[in-house]
């Protein structure tokens, strides 16, 4: 801290222009570094931007994932049921429109449409973002679940039905657990994509992690540290998520010795 105070806030502008003596190089680099840490994290409690932003990002991601899985489960099941039995024609038609529209337009545009047009009177932006990202993710999750259901041999459905389970019960007890296991890697992919996609939340002035870095950058006039910090935090989140899914996968594979 002492160094930072002494050097003042101009040190970074000087960097590169000064030609320090050989012996001094190391100490100047260190001084610049600690100065940067001070400016980017400590001054005015700027670290709080990152932690608050991360909190917003994680909250949006978590609830959007939940919403996406619910939508995806319903839509995917309807699509697979139609494919197998040719029933639910109308529902399948509606789901088809949903998939086409959602997958055919950028998520930023969807986010803004929901914020500025559909829910223009909304005061709390986080639920708006959850809704937008959840609806968006649901379309992709639906296709993942549909392919998962279709990957299960029809004999499983027949075995379940022959025991007296109805269609939904067989789906729930027999097909879904197997389908879920098959699509877990694809689902994990989708969740990682979703986590990173929430970085466009700044478009509706939500202070998520990316926006937080942006705010700090605009205060320090130095993009290097805020952006790398933000990138590193995303990376850690994704690694944690990936490892978690790996663990779950291993547990689910128990039945395949």
């Amino acid at each position: 801290m002492r160094i930072a105070f002494r050097k003042g806030r101009n040190s970074f502008c000087v960097k590169g222009l000064l030609q320090p003596e050989r012996g001094e190089t190391k100490s100047i680099m260190w001084e610049n570094f600690s100065e940067a840490i001070y400016l980017n994290f400590i001054k005015d409690d700027r670290w709080k931007y990152y932690t608050d932003g991360l909190k917003v990002t994680l909250i949006i991601t978590l609830f959007a994932v939940l919403l996406g899985v619910v939508i995806g489960l319903v839509v995917g099941t309807i699509r697979a049921t139609h494919e197998r039995t040719h029933k639910l024609k109308f529902c399948n038609f509606l789901c088809g429109i949903y998939l086409t529209v959602i997958r055919g337009t950028p998520v930023v545009v969807q986010l803004m449409i929901i914020f500025y047009i559909i829910l223009a009177s909304a005061r709390n932006k986080i639920p708006v973002a959850v809704l937008a990202f959840g609806i968006n993710s649901g379309a992709y999750v639906a296709e993942i679940f549909r392919s998962g259901i279709m990957s299960i041999d029809n004999g499983q459905m027949e075995a379940g039905r022959s025991l007296g389970f109805n269609y939904i019960q067989t789906m729930w007890y027999v097909i879904m657990p197997q389908a879920f296991k098959n699509v877990l890697p694809a689902l994990c992919n989708e969740f990682i994509a979703l986590l990173k996609e929430t970085s466009v939340s700044g478009y509706i002035a939500l202070q998520d992690l990316t926006k937080a870095g942006d705010i700090v950058r605009s205060r320090t006039f130095n993009p290097f540290f805020p952006l790398l910090t933000v990138a590193a935090i995303y990376l850690v989140c994704v690694i944690v998520l990936t490892q978690g899914v790996k663990l779950l996968e291993r547990r689910l594979r128990q039945s395949e010795h």
Partner: protein, 248 residues
């Protein structure tokens, strides 16, 4: 549900099934009584499996009626799921649930559908497992079993629902020859216990041994049916004669 004495357990009347324009089953009428062990044989593509699958509506018949325990199960108002609980089915490809242990495979339907307690369901399952000689595999997963063991488990899974009739769809066709015997033994025990059975199979020797009636299907209908001695010893229909000369 008790049935009146002498009334058939399953009564098929004018059953027909078409896939698009292809008529697979034509005007089939059959009575199956309690304790019957009916074997359905015939050339491949003759409609045997389709007939069997129509009995529990895994295949939706396009015409006719099927009365099971006095109820028309083809009627739109019939709750087919409830009646299926009383009709066990065994598939050529076993179709065990690979994500569950053997014990879970056996108990899930009784627990969820008949609201049995875990203890009750597991007790009944273990008893049946012991009878087919697989009590030590209760905690295994299907992928750890041989084909013959899987099929025995599949039979037990159906039996756990205490069905009134068992439908077998080529139960030994997917098995290695040395595993056929163990499955037939289980079926033999069932027949001895007076279980009503409808069996689609190519095991002629087995049909001769335990069937009470053998029916020959050709071209979507039964062209001959008789007790096994007569069926195999003194066939009348020409097509049956030529079929038997090829397979025996």
């Amino acid at each position: 549900m008790s049935i009146e004495e002498g009334k058939p357990l399953i009564q098929v009347k004018g059953l027909g099934k078409a896939f698009g324009k292809t008529q697979v089953l034509k005007d089939i009428s059959v009575d199956i009584h309690k304790g019957d062990v009916v074997f359905v044989v015939g050339p491949s593509g003759s409609g045997k499996s389709t007939f069997l699958r129509c009995l529990n509506r895994l295949e939706e018949p396009t015409e006719g009626n099927i009365y099971f325990e006095g109820v028309d199960i083809l009627d739109k108002g019939t709750d087919i799921d409830r009646h299926r609980q009383k009709m066990g089915m065994v598939f050529q490809s076993f179709n065990l649930f690979p994500h569950m242990t053997i014990l879970k495979n056996l108990t899930i339907a009784p627990m969820k559908l008949q609201k049995k307690s875990r203890e009750e369901a597991e007790g009944a399952a273990m008893e049946l497992l012991a009878r087919v000689g697989l009590a030590d595999r209760a905690e295994a997963y299907p992928s750890q079993l041989s084909g013959g063991q899987k099929q025995r488990i599949a039979i037990v899974r159906a039996l756990c629902m205490k069905p009134d009739v068992m439908l077998f769809d080529e139960p030994t066709s997917a098995l290695d020859p040395e595993m056929v015997g163990e499955v037939l033994n289980v079926m033999r025990d069932l027949a001895r216990d007076k279980m009503t059975m409808v069996v689609v199979t190519h095991e002629m020797g087995f049909a001769r041994e335990i069937a009470t009636r053998v029916m020959f299907m050709d071209g979507g209908n039964f062209v001959e049916e008789a007790p096994p001695e007569e069926f195999f010893g003194n066939p009348k229909n020409d097509r049956l004669k030529s079929f038997l000369s090829k397979v025996l």
